[in-house]
């Protein structure tokens, strides 16, 4: 699965809202353990095909990301 991670829970929640408005399906999940170095909190899980567009949308909306789309098992 593909995830994007954020600086805080509030950033993740705001990202979820913005992406949903743009018609991208996201689900907030706890940050997968294998993403070492990340903070605790939430990640947005999304379809591989949507990652590129989601990162662009979030960048334009100035939502800072820690991992701009990474595949985890």
């Amino acid at each position: 699965m593909w995830v994007i991670t954020f600086l805080s829970v509030f950033h993740a929640l705001r990202a979820e809202k913005i992406l949903q408005k743009q018609g991208i399906d996201v689900k907030l999940i706890p940050i997968p353990r294998e993403l070492s170095g990340s903070c605790e909190g939430l990640a947005a899980q999304l379809a591989a095909d949507d990652v590129k567009r989601a990162v662009i949308i979030l960048t334009t909306n100035k939502i800072e990301m820690v991992r701009q789309g990474v595949e985890v098992k």
């Binding site: 600086l7 805080s8 929640l13 909190g41």
Partner: protein
């Protein structure tokens, strides 16, 4: 029956939605926002985020996450002043400031910050050219109260903002008396740091407030602690809003504040302002007919908010305020209103004034009763 005319101190009553939103949260959710990954915490976080978004809409802020919550505007102003200024920096304020800005400013002066207080005229208005003259090479910030809590005088903040931006000086606005009543646009008015309180014009509960910090400005936190983020690090995170929000937030209060701001956005600022102006006109036109009365601040309704301060010759304002409540059930506030500089400016030191501050829920009938009561009291005590 109580007639409440002290909305400049705290607004009352609140919109029904404020009470129900807080009650619903306390009974049904109650979880700590921004902590852990449970759906309960997420539900809290989502509601807190919603309040940020509503505030961002009201103040025309692009990124709601640049808003950090605080206990009140006093805390927000303390964070802004003490978290930005260093010894050797120069701070400029006006002579109409409330203690919330003036006291931390004078405390910083003791620690080596240069401070200039620019005098305002007898109606409380700041002349922007006087402000321009006060600017020095080391001027770092201008801190200004948008509308006076003593006279209702509205300062020319767009001009001040423009001047500050040109001179590359930070503009800190204290919106305690204006948020929820006057239009505030952080971009158009060039506001770098906006401090607000939740319990006055924003119609939320006491114990809420916050500050907006323009992207690129770093504010050192006054307190460090748990933020729910970057938990492995022993250093405070530097991201907004987490860096300024250590410890559990006043979540029920913030949710109530959100309901208050939603009410304002639904009603529209213009409608709220118009109602308050009508009440102010009614007060002004009738009070000025009372022998021995003096009313302070500008007569022009567009130059003032719904704060009407008055004195009656040879009568202690506290006596008027006490009589208004004891004999007529009318709640007002007398004295110096935590703003001795402002009272000095308009010439009401040391006794202060009696202040009437109607709000959106005040009716014309209540104002009529208050006018009649003040007429009677003035007649009785002036003898």
């Amino acid at each position: 029956m109580k007639i409440y005319l002290d909305n400049a101190a705290t607004s009352w009553p609140k919109p029904e939605a404020v009470y129900t939103a807080m009650d619903r949260f306390q009974r049904n959710i109650g979880a700590n926002p921004g902590r852990g990954v449970t759906q309960s915490s997420l539900a809290s976080s989502a509601l807190v985020l919603e309040t940020r978004e509503l505030l961002a809409e009201l103040f025309h802020i692009d990124d709601p996450l640049r808003i950090a919550f605080s206990l009140n505007v006093t805390e927000a102003l303390n964070v802004a002043l003490k978290g930005i200024l260093l010894p050797g920096d120069h701070l400029v304020i006006s002579s109409m400031e409330h203690a919330a800005l003036a006291r931390p400013a004078f405390a910083l002066r003791e620690k080596g910050v240069d401070l200039t207080v620019v005098p305002c005229d007898s109606e409380g208005l700041l002349d922007v050219s006087d402000l321009a003259k006060a600017i020095r090479p080391n001027t770092k910030m201008v801190g200004l109260l948008h509308a006076s809590n003593v006279t209702g005088t509205i300062q020319p903040i767009a001009e001040v903002g423009k001047l500050c931006r040109e001179k590359e000086i930070l503009f800190l606005l204290d919106s305690a008396q204006s948020a929820g009543v006057l239009p505030i646009d952080v971009n158009r008015q060039c506001i770098d740091v906006l401090a607000f309180t939740g319990h006055k014009g924003l119609l939320g509960p006491q114990g809420t407030g916050g500050l907006y910090v323009r992207p690129g400005i770093v504010v050192r936190p006054l307190k460090e602690g748990g933020t729910g983020s970057w938990a492995r690090n022993m250093e405070q995170p530097d991201i907004m809003p987490d860096c300024l929000e250590s410890g559990t937030l006043n979540t029920p209060g913030i949710i109530g504040l959100g309901a208050g701001v939603r009410f304002i956005l639904e009603q529209g600022l213009e409608r709220i302002r118009l109602h308050e102006q009508q009440l102010t006109a009614l007060l002004w036109d009738n009070l000025q007919k009372i022998p021995g009365i003096r009313i302070y601040g500008p007569a022009d309704l567009n130059a003032r908010t719904a704060v009407v301060s008055f004195t009656v010759d040879n009568v202690d304002p506290n006596q008027i305020s006490s009589a208004l409540e004891a004999d007529y059930g009318i709640v007002t506030r007398a004295g110096l209103h935590c703003a001795p500089l402002a009272h000095q400016t308009v010439g009401t030191i040391p006794g202060g004034t009696c202040r009437l501050s109607p709000g959106f829920f005040t009716s014309e009938r209540e104002i009529d009763i208050a006018i009649h009561a003040i007429e009677e009291i003035a007649r009785k005590y002036r003898r």
